[in-house]
Amino acid sequence: MLLAEPVSRALAAARWPARDPTGALLLWQAVGLAGGLALLGAGVSFGLAPLGSSLPVAVGQLAEHLRHRDWPAGLGVWQLLALAASLALAARLLGVLGLAAIRTLRARRRHRDLLDVLATPWPAMAGARVLAHPLPVAYCLPGLRSRLVVSEGTLAALSPAELAAVLAHERAHLRERHDLVVLPFVAWGATAPWVPGMARAQLAVATLVEMRADDVARARAGELALAGALRQVGGGAARATLTSFSAAVSGRLDRLDHRPNRPSLAARAASRLAALALVAVPTAALLLP
C-alpha cells in the first residue's frame, strides 16, 4: 500500500531522477516488482498461515496433505478466499503482460513488413531507413530485427551533426531495450488505471527513458547538436500544428541547458541498493521463517 501511493508520489516528484535516469528507472522497476510481490505475498501468506510459519514450509505441508487426499484442518473459508484472490490476481497480471507483449510484437511485425517495402535504405547510415514524407519524424522499431527510421522531413531539417545526435538517441533506445523497460508499465497501467501509482509510474518511466537516451546522445554527438535536433524536430512539428511549444520537448531542452551534475558515486550506489532492498525485503519476508 505504501508503495502504491506515497512512495510513487515522492519518486515522481523528486528532482534527482533527472540527474541519474538509470538509477531512477531501476528504482521504479523495483517499486513495481516489490508492490506486486507484497500484494500477492500478503494473500498467499494469510491463506497458508495455518499450515506453517514460512511460505516454503506451508506449501510443503499443503502438498503433503493433498498427496494423501485429506484436507488440511487449518484452511477455512477466508483462507481459501485469500488464496483464490491472490492466484486470480497473479494470473491476471501475467495474462495482461503476455497479451500486451503479443499485441506489441504483432503490431511491430506488421509495421516492419511495410517499412521494408516502403522505406528506402540509407546508404550513408548502416541500418537506417528513410520514409518519403515531409513531416519531421524519427523513430525506432525495437526487437531482434530492429529498424531505425527517419523521414525526409527530418533529413531536410537537420544538420549532419544534429542527425547524428538523433540517431545516437534512437540507437540508445534500441541497444538498451527501453521497449522492454516500458512494456510492463504500459501493460499494467492500461489495465489498472485507477491505481494511483500506476499512471505516475508510466509517465515517469517514459520520461526517464528519454532522458537516458538523451544522455547517451549527448555523450556521442555533443550537447549543441542534440539541442539543435530537439529544436528542429520538436519545433518543426510544433510550428506546423500547435500554437504552444511542446511541453515535453522544452522540458528536455531545459535539462540540456542547465546541465545537471551527475550525482556522486555514493548517491548512485544508494539508489541501486534501495532498488535491490525493495525487492529483497518482501521476498525474504515470504521465504524465511
Binding site: A100, V117, L118, L131, V137, Y139, S151, V182, L183, E210
Partner: protein, 113 residues
C-alpha cells in the same frame, strides 16, 4: 544477390507505374535486366499480397496483380502508426519525440489524414 526487401520495392515500383493490373509475367518482363525466375516473382508477389500491398484478381487465363493503394497512402499509414499515442501502442515504437502530450500527438496525427 539483392535482398528481398529491395526486390519487393522494385516489384511495387512496377505495379505503381502500371496503368492496369499486371500478370507475374508482365512484372518479370518489366524487371528483365534482373533476370528473375518466374517462381521468384511469384514468391515476391505472394509476400506483398500478405502484407496487404498488392491485391490479386483472376481473369480467365491468369492471376493479375495490382497495387493496393498508392505509395503515399501507405507511407501516411506508417507515419500515423509511428505517431500513434494509444496506451497499448506506447511500447511498439520509441519515438524521438516520445513523451509528447496526447493532444499534441493528436494534432500531429490530424496532419497525416
Amino acid at each position: 544477390m539483392a535482398g528481398l526487401g529491395e526486390l519487393e520495392r522494385a516489384v511495387m515500383d512496377v505495379l505503381w507505374a502500371a496503368s492496369e493490373p499486371c500478370t507475374a509475367r508482365d512484372v518479370q518482363d518489366a524487371l528483365a535486366q534482373r533476370e528473375l525466375a518466374t517462381t521468384t516473382v511469384l514468391t515476391v508477389l505472394g509476400r506483398l499480397e500478405r502484407k496487404g500491398l498488392v491485391s490479386r484478381t483472376r481473369d480467365s487465363r491468369a492471376h493479375r496483380y495490382q497495387a493496393a493503394g498508392t505509395r503515399e497512402d501507405h507511407i501516411a499509414t506508417l507515419m500515423r502508426d509511428a505517431l500513434d499515442g494509444a496506451p497499448d501502442r506506447g511500447a511498439v515504437m520509441v519515438r524521438f519525440l516520445g513523451g509528447m502530450p496526447p493532444e499534441e500527438q493528436a494534432a500531429l496525427r490530424d496532419l497525416l489524414r
